[in-house]
């Protein structure tokens, strides 16, 4: 896992400050603040209900926070508060500069159109109007996520779970985004399929210099993919730092419990 060097690297890509989401009186997530830098992979871990998905959705503009701000450095190098942007701008960001990989591929794919069209959609959305070029790009991306070229016209219903997940990744990466959100991308996959996906993600993240925010309850996934980690409990970030430091020398009682609960194969 390598971070990108030089340039605007020392300026954060995403700045999260005091982001809070309340569901009525209940806390979804509270006062979360952190900076994410280009090329950095941040894991958000915690058990179900700890608020990690709520936080992810607040960052990815899928859920409006109750208070706090989330700012993103766009390609013009301007820091913009996501929630002061127009919906059109936010959605544009979502399908060009960002990606979102859902736990269930059916949530992120169009299940009734071919793999090629699934990958090509974002290109067409930003104005690509040459069928041949779109198809070439789709073919290239299917290859990069290890889907055989002759499956390009099959729709994802004919794909296995692991293939669907890889297709979802290709669909997201085709516009060369700079920031990818992932919600339990390996959840529900059996271990060999999961290993393949993790290896693929690891390679893509390093090759493309992507910034990633990944939600996972699997500490092994966090260790393999992330540079930094946030541990959440009851909607609060209770511990954060270098991934290996937090996992090897956890300070908080809850983090120690999490780490000691890992099954060793």
């Amino acid at each position: 896992m390598s971070a990108v060097n030089q340039g605007t690297e020392d300026l954060p890509l995403l700045q999260v400050s005091n982001t809070t989401k309340l569901y009525g009186g209940r806390i979804g997530c509270k006062d979360v603040s952190f900076d994410l830098y280009p090329g950095e992979v941040l894991a958000i871990v915690g058990e179900s209900g700890s608020g990690k998905t709520t936080l992810l959705n607040c960052l990815a503009t899928r859920l409006t926070p109750t208070s706090g701000s989330v700012s993103y450095r766009n390609r013009m190098d301007q820091m913009r508060n996501l929630y002061e942007m127009s919906e059109a701008e936010r959605r544009m960001l979502m399908r060009t500069d960002w990606g979102f990989v859902h736990q269930h591929p059916a949530d992120g794919l169009r299940m009734t159109v071919s793999a090629g069209a699934n990958v090509g959609e974002r290109l067409m959305a930003v104005g690509a109007r040459n069928y041949g070029n779109i198809r070439d790009t789709a073919t290239d991306w299917l290859g990069r996520v290890e889907i055989a070229e002759d499956r390009i016209d099959d729709d994802p219903r004919a794909f296995s779970g692991g293939m669907r997940q890889r297709l979802q990744i290709a669909r997201n990466l085709v516009t060369s985004p700079r920031l990818i959100f992932m919600d339990e991308p390996t959840g529900g996959l059996d271990v060999s399929v999961q290993a393949r996906l993790l290896d693929l993600l690891r390679g893509l993240v390093a090759d493309l210099g992507l910034s990633v925010i990944i939600v996972t309850h699997d500490l092994a996934v966090a260790r393999l993919l992330s540079h930094r980690i946030l541990v959440m409990r009851h909607g609060h970030v209770i511990e954060s730092g270098l991934t290996d430091q937090v996992l090897d020398d956890p300070q908080q009682s809850y983090t120690q419990l999490l780490v000691s609960s890992i099954l060793q194969p």
Binding site: S2, R202, G241, L242, Q245
Partner: protein, 236 residues
Amino acid sequence: MSNTPKTKILVSDLAKTFTMHLQDGLEIPVVSGVNFSVASGECVVLGGPSGSGKSSILKMIYANYRCQKGQILITDQDEIINVAQATPRRIIRLRENTIGYVSQFLRAIPRVPALTLVAEPLIAQGVAEEEALARAGKLLARLNVPQRLWQLPPATFSGGEQQRVNIARGFIAHYPILLLDEPTASLDAANRAVVVELVEEKKEQGVAMVGILHDHDVRDAIADRIVDVTSFASAA
């Protein structure tokens, strides 16, 4: 303070305590008042029995463990960084270019072949993939890892093979500071000799090294100085 330009690592008044929250907050003091320095081209070996905190000190220098007190200053080109206080981001950069760590155990990554695993630190430092793989191959050959294994993920290798892959991964790139955590624990004599050679080469390049070595022969061969960790035992 002997903070000459040649000093690469300066550890001062370092202390570490584990708090076991799952055991009613039991406090386990590990070390305290750790003081030593390492110069360029020098190999300092931490001495002391198991459980005396040698490994914890090494891990604190690598920022793998946190410390409760003290400083760990290292020179990164013309900057002096206190590892104990540095941001995660700074530490990631240090680990990429400045501090290397050869651990006892290989953390194999699913599906990644041994050769790639060894080449990765070089690639991260910006060496072209082809050249990195060639150098990885040379090093694996030198450590007597059979070529038929190079393209396989090392998860299924024997302990000794895994450790040699790990040593290759640790030694392949140039880091001004290298931490050695029992690199020779399960190696035969021939491979131990290779490690000794590798360490000697690093010394010639001016690398400052801190090591834990239980093997007396290797220790005697490479240690310039031995720092006895028992003197840092926590007074708890």
